[in-house]
Symmetry: C2
Subunit: 237 residues, 2 copies
Amino acid sequence: MEELEKAEDRKRNSNNPERNQRILDAAAKLLVRFGYDKTTISDIAQEAGISKGAIYLHYASREELFQALIMREIARYGRKFMEEIEADPEGGTLIGMYRHTLNQLPRYPVAQAVLARDKRVLGDMLRKLDPNIYLSSMNFRAEFIRRMQAAGLVRNDLNPQITAYILSMISIGFVTIDEFIGKEHAPSLEDQVNTLSALLSSGLEVPGGNSEAGKQIYRDIIEAFSQRYDLPTDETE
Amino acid sequence: MEELEKAEDRKRNSNNPERNQRILDAAAKLLVRFGYDKTTISDIAQEAGISKGAIYLHYASREELFQALIMREIARYGRKFMEEIEADPEGGTLIGMYRHTLNQLPRYPVAQAVLARDKRVLGDMLRKLDPNIYLSSMNFRAEFIRRMQAAGLVRNDLNPQITAYILSMISIGFVTIDEFIGKEHAPSLEDQVNTLSALLSSGLEVPGGNSEAGKQIYRDIIEAFSQRYDLPTDETE
DNA sequence: CTATGACCAGATGTTTACATTTGGTCACGG
DNA sequence: CCGTGACCAAATGTAAACATCTGGTCATAG
């Protein structure tokens, strides 16, 4: 009963969306700089210019705060690459999508750290994260490829499950390679994405497909994924 | 002076190549099962059916032993995939090579652990390993692609350096994916390699190239790599 | 009513002392 | 000679006692 009251308190108080965003902004900044283990609630409060107690008007615990941060960042990342895809006439092709998702990822370092399971950033949080996101997202990918094949945008002779596995493999290489080859030896992001796109395009695509149909498929898949993981739909949530 | 004598002792005694191989076999088995940190010299001696002292007739230290083991395993792996490449009429194509290197890798778990920088297997040894193997092997790859282009086996419009980076990325994904997606959800190795080959083939290759010329290029590159890392040429070394 | 920051219990890190393991040696047996 | 395995110093692991830090609370000020 008392707990219910507290939860309501929290809801009432989180009717301060501007401050809520400031908290998450501060947390994001510190998380990327110092990592989860070294980012304390006090640090976040100070960075956000408020008191420690105020944070607990928004979140019941440190863990909940970081969970919300990750959700927000992944949702932002998703919204951003969808925007780019929508704006690009070729955005509805398999490669258009790959291109935009990869191009945007480094701009969302929290999302990148989650996808890469980066221990330096996530620290102890790694154990609390759903260990099956990749498996799950591979399954979404497989379904996506199935529909893209049906729409004549992807070669029909490919097994969707295996192709999804290979695409996951490449994504994992993309986010993991920095640990093997120093960033200073990497070509520009643009070069990487261009070469990778060219490779995937000639390997997987049917030329001249209907990009608009592809966009609708991707919208549906992203929507399903967002629901599955309960991603926030807008910033004021 | 005394140290010199000891080194000679070691050389004289390592004239027991059969026992030397038994030692490394035992070390390999234990390394893969229990990891570097938990594999002691006594364990290795017991597994090899000899005494602790005998091991020091072959190796000056534990570290030297494992270093030699890694060299042997990588050399064996290299010899094996070269054999497969030589035996395959299409082995001299870019994709033939990729196919055989990937196909053989899981059969050489020590080599695989090194390439994946697997912490569970390598433990503390990770710090002692050359951190630049991947960078170095990417450079070999770039040189390889340059020559393959000159020989008309790889598309000429690709930048070798960037392409080598992308190929490294895929290799890294290949050895790392198990940490992200459980092995039980992976398609068979054959399916993986086939799909990956198809992808790379249509993306990078010039069809109908001279496979024999490719083999010679690969021989040269592997030879250069072996010399750079001082890999043993035969088992009795 | 909101927001603060001093406060506290429990978690986390550090030091010290002690116990165990293990890499490496070498006197000795075969 | 070669090869062994008891032996030892040094490294590693464990436990306890202590110090510090930090997530979360709440009396109080505004």
